[in-house]
Structures are given as structure tokens and as C-alpha cells.
């Protein structure tokens, strides 16, 4: 079968147009999904901040009553580190000061007031997206 030059031109044009349409469609899908995820992440991150602060407040309450607060302290740290991972992934490593304060959470003798200070700072975003 003899293929004319015009036919070759049509096929090449079709290739380019097809690639363009598929590319635009994929890009649109990707952007829509990213926007939906961003909205979701933003609301989830807000909830996480509240939950982490509440964990620290409860840990302080337990400490005041001289009860074990390991589970609450652990939850708080888990949520704060998750916040840093998912909600602020562009941040570099925490500052030494933030790292020191978070590491203090391991200590079961942490004073109630220090826990409440941490709760306040988490609520203000100081341990998540800015250095104190």
C-alpha cells in the first residue's frame, strides 16, 4: 500500500493532537485530585493540632493527679511528628530547641506546667511550623 505524504502528515498531526489531549486530561485529573487532597489535608491538620494540644492537656491533668500519662504523652508526640511530616513536609529538621522540647516528652517526670506550655505552643503552631 502506497502511503502518500499527506497521509503521513495526518498521522503525525493525529499523534501530536492525541498526545496533547491525553496530556491535558491527565494534568486536569491530577490537579483536581491535588486540590481535593490539599483541602482535606488542611482540615485534617487543623484537627491534629487540636488533638495534640488536648493530649498534652490531659497528660498534664494525669501528672497533677500523679497518674501514669505515658499513653497521652506518646499520642501527643505521635501527632506532632505526624503534623510535621504531613502538614509541613517542606520544613527542614526541627530546630535544636524544638527537638529538645519534643524529646522531653519521653520523660515521665515532666512537670504539668511544662506540658501545659507545650500544649499552648502546639495550639499556636510553634512546635510545628515555626521555630520558637
Amino acid at each position: 500500500m502506497k502511503v502518500s505524504n499527506r497521509m503521513i502528515l495526518f498521522i503525525v498531526t493525529g499523534c501530536v493532537l492525541g498526545a496533547l489531549v491525553v496530556g491535558i486530561y491527565q494534568e486536569g485529573q491530577s490537579r483536581r485530585r491535588k486540590e481535593a487532597t490539599a483541602t482535606l489535608v488542611a482540615s485534617g491538620c487543623h484537627g491534629l493540632v487540636q488533638d495534640a494540644a488536648a493530649n498534652l492537656e490531659r497528660a498534664a491533668d494525669f501528672a497533677e493527679r500523679q497518674q501514669d500519662n505515658g499513653f497521652e504523652r506518646g499520642q501527643a508526640l505521635g501527632r506532632i511528628t505526624a503534623l510535621r511530616t504531613v502538614c509541613a513536609p517542606s520544613l527542614t529538621d526541627p530546630s535544636p530547641e524544638v527537638r529538645r522540647r519534643l524529646a522531653r516528652l519521653v520523660d515521665e517526670r515532666l512537670a504539668p506546667q511544662e506540658l501545659r506550655d507545650l500544649a499552648r505552643d502546639v495550639s499556636l503552631g510553634r512546635l510545628v511550623d515555626e521555630a520558637p
Binding site: G44, N55, G74, L77
Partner: protein, 139 residues
């Protein structure tokens, strides 16, 4: 008329070839839908962190040490993962993800129970796609 048909046919072939090339390229690079965005990567990291916490809790429990803090950290990360990475998890009609969290709150959790929980979470994290419903194992 015949010329028009020939043109349409050629264009259709061209479009088909281009679409196939695109899909083949996307499949080869493994990035068909731009899935390397930061949230997906962060969710994968979070999943690894949950599993690491569970491993540590398992080791502590096996040595009969206290694991409240480690279990709590796993709980915090798992809850965060469910909240952010798998949006429907906390409203899931079956409550399966929530039951996973409930199990972790039990201070009398045995080593086999903890091991089983780790397996369910690991499989669930592998099967689920961030932004879509949790597809974890059956409890």
C-alpha cells in the same frame, strides 16, 4: 468525501498511537497520575513510622517493659494517618479503622495481638491510596 474519511482514519490511528505511547511512557516511569506529590510521600513515611513504633512496642512488650509511651506514639501517628491520609477512615460505616485504634488503647494487649495488629496495619497501608478510602484487612 473519501478524502475526508481517509483523513479521519489517519487522525484516529495517530491519536491511538499517541495515547498508547503516552500510557507506555507513564507506566515505565511509574508516574501516570503525578502521584509523587508530597502528601503521598508523607503518608508513606507516616505509615513506616507507625510500623516502627509497633515494632518497638512489640520488643518492649516481649521484654515485659512498659510500652504506654510507645503505644501512645503509634496511636497518635495512626490516628493522624487515618485523619489525613485516608479521609473516609473516621466515618467508615464498618468502623474497621476505628477498631484498629481501639485495639491499641488496651494496656493488656498481648504480643500475638500486637503482631496481628501490625500485620493488618501494614497490609492496609500498602493497599490503600492516600485521599481514598482505607482498604485495610478485616477485623
Amino acid at each position: 468525501m473519501r478524502g475526508l474519511l481517509r483523513t479521519a482514519f489517519a487522525a484516529a490511528i495517530g491519536a491511538g498511537v499517541a495515547a498508547l505511547c503516552w500510557l507506555a511512557y507513564a507506566g515505565r516511569t511509574g508516574q501516570p497520575l503525578g502521584e509523587t506529590d508530597t502528601t503521598v510521600v508523607a503518608c508513606a513515611e507516616l505509615g513506616q513510622a507507625v510500623l516502627a513504633d509497633l515494632d518497638l512496642a512489640l520488643a518492649q512488650r516481649a521484654r515485659q517493659e512498659r510500652d504506654d509511651y510507645t503505644r501512645g506514639r503509634a496511636y497518635g501517628r495512626l490516628a493522624a494517618g487515618m485523619l489525613i491520609c485516608f479521609p473516609d477512615a473516621l466515618t467508615d460505616r464498618t468502623r474497621r479503622p476505628l477498631r484498629l485504634l481501639d485495639v491499641l488503647t488496651d494496656p493488656r494487649l498481648t504480643v500475638p495481638q500486637l503482631q496481628w495488629l501490625r500485620t493488618v496495619i501494614e497490609q492496609g497501608w500498602q493497599r490503600s491510596v492516600p485521599g481514598q478510602p482505607w482498604r485495610g484487612g478485616v477485623l
